[in-house]
């Protein structure tokens, strides 16, 4: 195993060296060699590197990008990084070598992108970040970042609750199921929700605990919440899956989800939307993976030289049970 590891490292080192040399060579040539670009036929080429296929959300994200590229007449070179940064860097370097028109990727991690982004910049290829951002200090390394605004998702959830409870006279007890501790969606959704419900002093979070974004976690935590707190009016879960787990705990406690305890979640995956349509959930703020059409639009604009904002939000909405019933038949994920 050790020797194999060594061989891989050596091969990778050679690849890195080659890529760097090529990139430097290209940068030296400047813009004079546009005649060699494969985009001769007038078709735009987009190199996209995906994180992996770790969830239904991600699969829907991939499909959206593939389908909308076809519709927009953009040639897509797709790479699955299988959750590894080194795969992603290799893919981006390949795209630079192939002289694609635009590179887009969902970074596996936040840091460590400066070198490869600089190579792309030197090669004159614009980069678009999707879904997740990078922490590079030099913002000129990429054109824009398109993705969800987690704070907004939390705020929309909170605002709905404030609207629903404005006639309430007594205190409204809320329990919160947080996502994975320290993750951006968990921190931001908590923040947005907290800010929104501050508008009504009757609304109080009486317990908040992490359910790790999983059904089993959501269920185990909710079971204890129900036993420790006799009066729970509202459950706010940072994603659908924890809400679905909590559903079972609520039913087992002899309460009716959606009526005795109002449930607000975020994401709007299929199972969550089904629960909403069945009246077991009360409200879902969408976190949409379907950013393909927006991305293709951006690719065209970037190539045409138009200026675009540094931060673009994915078009997202919220769902009530009625809207969920209407949306379910055509739901893609």
């Amino acid at each position: 195993m050790l020797t194999m590891g060594k061989a891989i490292t050596r091969r990778r080192a050679v690849a890195v060296l080659t890529a760097t040399l090529l990139a430097t060579g290209m940068a030296a040539c400047g813009n004079s060699d546009t005649g060699e670009q494969p985009a001769d036929d007038g078709k735009l080429t987009l190199g996209f590197s995906q994180v992996g296929a770790e969830s239904g959300w991600r699969t829907a994200n991939t499909n959206s990008i593939k389908e909308s590229a076809k519709e927009a007449g953009i040639e897509l070179k797709f790479d699955d990084a299988q959750g590894k940064q080194e795969n992603q860097i290799t893919a981006i370097r390949n795209y630079i070598q192939q002289k694609v028109d635009v590179i887009a990727f969902s970074p596996v991690v936040e840091s460590g992108w400066d070198t490869v982004l600089k190579e792309a910049k030197d090669a004159g290829i614009p980069v678009i970040l999707t879904d997740r951002s990078v922490d590079s200090a030099d913002k000129s390394l990429y054109k824009t970042f398109i993705g969800s605004d987690f704070v907004k998702e939390g705020r929309l959830s909170g605002e709905w609750l404030v609207e629903q409870t404005k006639t309430a006279t007594g205190p409204v007890n809320i329990v919160e199921l947080q996502g994975t501790t320290g993750s951006a969606p968990a921190n931001d959704r908590k923040k947005g929700f907290g800010e929104a419900i501050a508008a009504n002093p009757n609304l109080k979070i009486i317990a908040s605990q992490t359910g790790e974004f999983t059904r089993a976690g959501g269920k185990a935590v909710m079971e204890q919440f129900l036993k420790a707190n006799p009066k729970i009016d509202v459950l706010f879960a940072h994603n659908d899956d924890m809400g679905l787990g909590a559903l079972e705990a609520i039913t087992a406690a002899g309460k009716v989800p959606g009526k005795d305890i109002k449930i607000i979640t975020i994401d709007a995956v299929k199972d969550g939307m089904q629960a909403l349509a069945d009246g077991k959930f009360n409200f879902i703020a969408e976190c949409s993976p379907l950013l393909g059409p927006q991305l293709m639009d951006l690719v065209k604009k970037v190539k045409a030289g138009e200026t675009i904002p540094q931060r673009i939000e994915t078009q997202e909405t919220t769902f009530t049970p009625e809207q969920a019933k209407a949306a379910l038949p055509t739901r893609k994920y």
Partner: protein, 356 residues
């Protein structure tokens, strides 16, 4: 008086005394925080309360822990049990989701058989790598720990498979005689393993292999066969635990099912007084350890300890339990004597005493 003192000393010296004290202390702390913690009431014809939750949620950990105990007794370790949980749960849920009638008992039984069958194959793979090819157990099982998650995701196609099957669901949340069915399954497996290892010579043979595989082989024990066997048993235990984990939420999540359960299981085994060096094991200790760990997790939720501090809280409790249980540590404090004489004793017995 001296006899009662001696008896007290014998009790406190028992390897399970301190884990038991920690378990009781946690329950007492919970009761002080919320007097209703120990309350158990009847609801829908079964018992309902935090204690019942602890029993139900501890069942998969007990199962995985039992298999892990035998593996560790041979001086090995099985890191792949968490992935095995995910795989067996995924294949069972996949089969059920493809049935026209998900509530049909026959379909569920086939699903369980598929899960167990696949676990047997994967257990045999682990066993073969360790006993026949002779790869270090930590590396051999690391392969399936990592690749197994991928296999589980391959089965679920990266999605969460949701099922709606009452018979399957009962494995995780069903009740028998007002108590969770899962705990009966775990207890059944525990009794079976205890009977097979302690009523026959098998337990002693496993310990002999763990003590010195080569010496036991020379003494006429087919040590490779024993090593192979314990990995298969561990895989089957993990497979059954996988059913419970997925049935608990009626869905198979290739990513999250049984995640890190291997670490909790190793911890349960260690707290239970089984030596990581092999050659000695305690099944009842593992069960107590599993109950302690589950109580600890439930305590975090019940007391609503903030997620940022809960890991630290768990770590502190585990460190304390492991320390007071370590004979070398206790000896140092009980005698209040200089460290020097205690140290070599600890070193001499290192094969036997590495619970921390």
């Amino acid at each position: 008086m001296s006899t009662s003192k001696a008896r007290w000393a014998a009790v406190t010296a028992h390897s399970l005394f301190w884990p038991a004290v920690a378990l009781v202390a946690l329950l007492v702390a919970n009761t002080i925080y919320r007097p209703g913690f120990l309350t158990v009431e009847m609801k829908d014809g079964h018992l309902y309360g935090s204690l019942v939750d602890i029993l139900r949620l501890a069942a998969p950990l007990i199962l995985v822990g039992l298999g892990m105990t035998l593996v560790i007794a041979t001086g090995g370790i099985d890191l792949s049990v968490g992935s095995m949980c995910a795989i067996s749960g995924a294949i069972a849920c996949l089969h059920i989701s493809q049935q026209p009638d998900q509530n049909a008992l026959s379909g569920v039984l086939v699903a369980l058989a598929l899960g167990i069958g696949l676990s047997l194959v994967l257990g045999a793979w682990n066993g073969a790598l360790v006993s026949i090819i002779g790869i270090q157990p930590i590396i051999a099982t690391l392969i399936l720990m990592v690749a197994g998650r991928g296999l589980a995701q391959l089965i679920t196609e990266g999605q969460i498979i949701t099922i709606n099957s009452e018979p399957y669901k009962s494995v995780g949340v069903g009740y028998l005689l007002t108590l969770p069915l899962a705990i009966f399954i775990a207890a059944g497996v525990a009794l079976l393993v205890a009977a097979v290892t302690r009523r026959t010579a098998l337990g002693m043979i496993i310990e002999a292999v763990g003590g010195n595989a080569e010496a036991s082989r020379l003494a006429g024990i087919r040590s490779a066969r024993i090593t192979f066997l314990v990995y298969v048993i561990s895989a089957v235990c993990a497979g059954i635990a996988g059913f419970m984990v997925t049935a608990n939420v009626s869905s198979a999540d290739g990513n999250a099912a049984g995640l890190w359960i291997e670490l909790d299981a190793i911890l349960a085994v260690v707290i239970g007084g089984t030596s990581l060096a092999g050659g000695r094991f305690s099944l009842s200790g593992t069960i107590l350890g599993a109950l302690l760990i589950q109580t600890l997790t439930t305590t975090v939720y019940a007391m609503n300890i903030s997620p940022q501090t809960s890991l630290l809280f768990k770590a502190v409790v585990v460190i304390i339990v492991c320390l007071v249980q370590a004979p070398a540590f206790r000896a140092r404090f009980a005698r209040r004597r200089p460290v020097a004489p205690a140290a070599p004793t600890a070193a001499d017995q290192s094969k036997e005493q590495v619970p921390a």
